[in-house]
Symmetry: C2
Subunit: 330 residues, 2 copies
C-alpha cells in the first residue's frame, strides 16, 4: 500500500501539503502542486478512504434499503439511484430487509457507524419512531414508501390516485364486482392505506358497496397471484374484475385464470400496478398503472446528495404523477 507519506517523500514536501493537493485547497504554489501530482501519478496513489472517513472528511457511500431486490420494481429503483450516485462518486450499498424489522434496523446502523453517509428507504418495516433517531447521524430519504410526517424528505407517487383511476377504469368498463389485492397490510398511514382509500372512493362514487371478501392483502409475487385466483374461483359470488397491487400479482392471476378456462378480459378483467416489462409480454397485454420508477429513483438520489452537500437543506416532499396504461386485459 502506498501512503501519503510515500508521496510526500518522493515529492519532497510534507504530508500536509500532499493532503492539501488531494483536497484541492487554495494557496499551494503551482510548483509544489505539480511535484505532488507527479509523485501521486508515479506511485499510483489512491488515498485510503477509511483514513479519510475516520477524520470525518470523506462521504462516498449511500445505502438503499429495499425489501427484496428480486422484485423488479425495486431493482429498477436501485438502478436509477445507483446511476445518480455513481456520477457523483458515490458507491451504492444494497440493503435487503426481506421485510425483517431487525435487519432494517441493523442497516440503519450503517449511518451511525459512518459506513453509509445517507440512506434511501424504499420500504419501511419499523415504526417511524424507531427510525427517526437515526436521522441524527445522516439524512434519510423516503422513496416510494411514505409516512405522514411533513418534515421527512420523501419522493412519492399519488397512490390514492393510482388505485382510484384504475378502479374507475374498471367501473367504466361496466364492472361492479371488483376484487382488490395488494402488498401491504393496512397501516394507519402511507402507501397501502392510500391505495385502499382510492379503491373505496372509486367504488363509493359509483354507488358500489365494498365486499370485504374481495379484499386480499399481503400479496406480492406471481405465486401469490396464482393462489388468489384459486381463492376467487372457489367463491360462490365471484368478482368480474381484479385490481392487482403489482404486475407480478397480475401475471399470476392471469396465468391461473387462463388455466381455469377464463377468457380475459371477457370473463375476468385484470389490472396491474407499476408497468413493468412483464406487463407488455403478458397475453393479453396488461392494463396497468404506470409509476415513473426511474424518475423516482433519480429524484431520491438527487435529494439525498443535495442533503449531503448542503446539510441545511430543508426537507421536501415530491409527488410524481401516475398514469393509466390501457392494454388488452380490461
Amino acid at each position: 500500500m502506498t501512503t501519503i507519506i510515500d508521496v510526500a517523500r518522493l515529492a519532497g514536501v510534507s504530508k500536509t501539503t500532499v493532503s492539501r493537493v488531494i483536497n484541492n485547497y487554495p494557496h499551494i504554489s503551482p510548483d509544489k502542486k505539480n511535484q505532488v501530482l507527479q509523485a501521486m501519478e508515479q506511485l499510483g496513489f489512491t488515498p485510503n478512504p477509511s483514513a479519510r472517513r475516520l477524520r470525518g472528511q470523506l462521504a462516498t457511500t449511500i445505502a438503499v434499503v429495499v425489501p427484496k431486490i428480486v422484485n423488479p420494481f425495486f431493482s429498477y429503483l436501485v438502478d436509477a439511484i445507483e446511476q445518480v450516485g455513481y456520477r457523483s462518486g458515490y458507491q451504492t450499498l444494497i440493503c435487503q430487509t426481506n421485510e425483517d424489522k431487525e435487519k432494517e434496523l441493523s442497516y440503519l446502523n450503517l449511518l451511525r457507524t459512518k459506513q453509509a453517509d445517507g440512506i434511501i428507504m424504499t420500504s419501511i418495516e419499523n415504526d417511524w419512531a424507531q427510525i427517526e433517531p437515526y436521522t441524527e447521524f445522516g439524512p434519510i430519504v423516503l422513496c416510494n414508501e411514505y409516512i405522514n410526517k411533513p418534515d421527512v424528505p420523501m419522493i412519492r407517487v399519488d397512490q390514492y390516485q393510482g388505485t382510484y383511476i384504475g378502479v374507475k377504469h374498471l367501473i367504466e368498463r361496466g364492472h361492479r364486482k371488483i376484487a382488490y389485492c395488494t402488498g401491504g397490510l393496512f397501516t394507519e398511514f402511507g402507501k397501502d392505506k392510500d391505495r385502499n382509500r382510492g379503491y373505496q372512493k372509486a367504488l363509493e362514487e359509483a354507488g358500489i358497496p365494498v365486499n370485504p371478501a374481495w379484499i386480499l392483502v399481503d400479496k406480492h409475487t406471481i405465486g401469490d397471484g396464482k393462489q388468489v385466483m384459486q381463492l376467487l374461483m372457489e367463491m360462490k359470488d365471484r368478482p368480474t374484475a381484479v385490481f392487482a397491487g403489482s404486475d407480478e400479482i397480475a401475471g399470476g392471476l392471469m396465468m391461473a385464470a387462463k388455466r381455469a378456462g377464463l377468457r380475459i378480459p371477457d370473463d375476468l378483467a385484470i389490472i396491474g400496478f407499476d408497468d413493468q416489462p412483464i406487463a407488455e409480454v403478458l397475453d393479453p397485454g396488461l392494463t396497468t398503472i404506470r409509476q415513473p420508477i426511474a424518475r423516482m429513483g433519480k429524484k431520491a438520489g438527487e435529494i439525498l446528495l443535495a442533503m449531503l452537500n448542503e446539510p441545511s437543506q430543508g426537507p421536501a416532499v415530491y409527488e410524481l404523477p401516475v398514469e393509466l396504461i390501457i392494454r388488452e386485459s380490461t
Copy 2:
C-alpha cells in the same frame, strides 16, 4: 458518537482492555470483561468500522459486480449472495457496470482501497489481464461468467451443455431450421463461446449445417427479442425454432411472434434460458434451460467468505448442473 474511550472510562479500564473484549481476546479476567460488556451495553456502543479497518482488522464488505441489476438473472444472483453475506456479518455493495470497462475497473479499485474485502464478478468487461493485478489486494471470485484460467476461483454452469440439450430438444421435436440469439459477442473463451459450441455441436450431430444468418448476438432484453422477431419475419428462409439466450429475449420473441399471427409452438418453437419467473407466466409456458441461480450465488458467497477467512484456500472451480424445463413453447 460514543467511542472506545467513553466505554473504558465508564468501565474503569484502559481502552486496550475494551479493545480486547471487543475482539474476544483471551486472558481477560471475567470481572473486567463483564464491566466492559455492561458499559458497552449501557452506552449503546458500536465500534467505528473505519477505525478498525484502518488498522487492518475489520472485513465487512463484499462487492458484487453485475452488468445490470434490472436483469432478473443478476438480481436473483445478488439476492443469494447478499443473504450469505448478511449471515456472516458482511455488507453487500452493488456494482453495476452497465457493460462499461472503465466503470468495472473503478469498482475493482474498491479492493485496493480496502472498501471491499472481496469481489464477486458475475460479468467481465475487461480482459482478465487487466483484472488479475487486483487479486493482489483481495480475493476475486467469478460467478456465472468464466474464463480459461484454472487458478481463478469460479462458480459456473455448463453453458455448453445448456445450449446443447436445448438445441437437441428442438431437433428431437423435428426442427431443422433453428435460429440462435444470445447476449454476448463471441469471445475467445468463456460463457458465450461455450454456448455457441453447444449450438454448433447439436446441429452437427444431426447433420444440420449452420446458417450464419440465423445467429444473432448482443441481444439481452425483451425489446431485443421483439426486434429479432422482426428480422426473422423479413427473412425469405425463415427458421421454425429459436433458441434464445435468456427468458427475456424469449418473451419478446414470443410476444412479437404472436402479434404477427404465428402460433407457438406450431409455427415457431421458442426455447429460453434461465427459467425465470417470467417463463412460467408466458403463454404458452416457456420451455427453457434452468440455471440454479440461487445455488450459484450461495456457492460464490461461501467461496469468497472462505477465502477471506482462510487466505491459504486454494482456488476452486465449481460446476453446477443445468436442466431442461419443458413447457408448451416447444
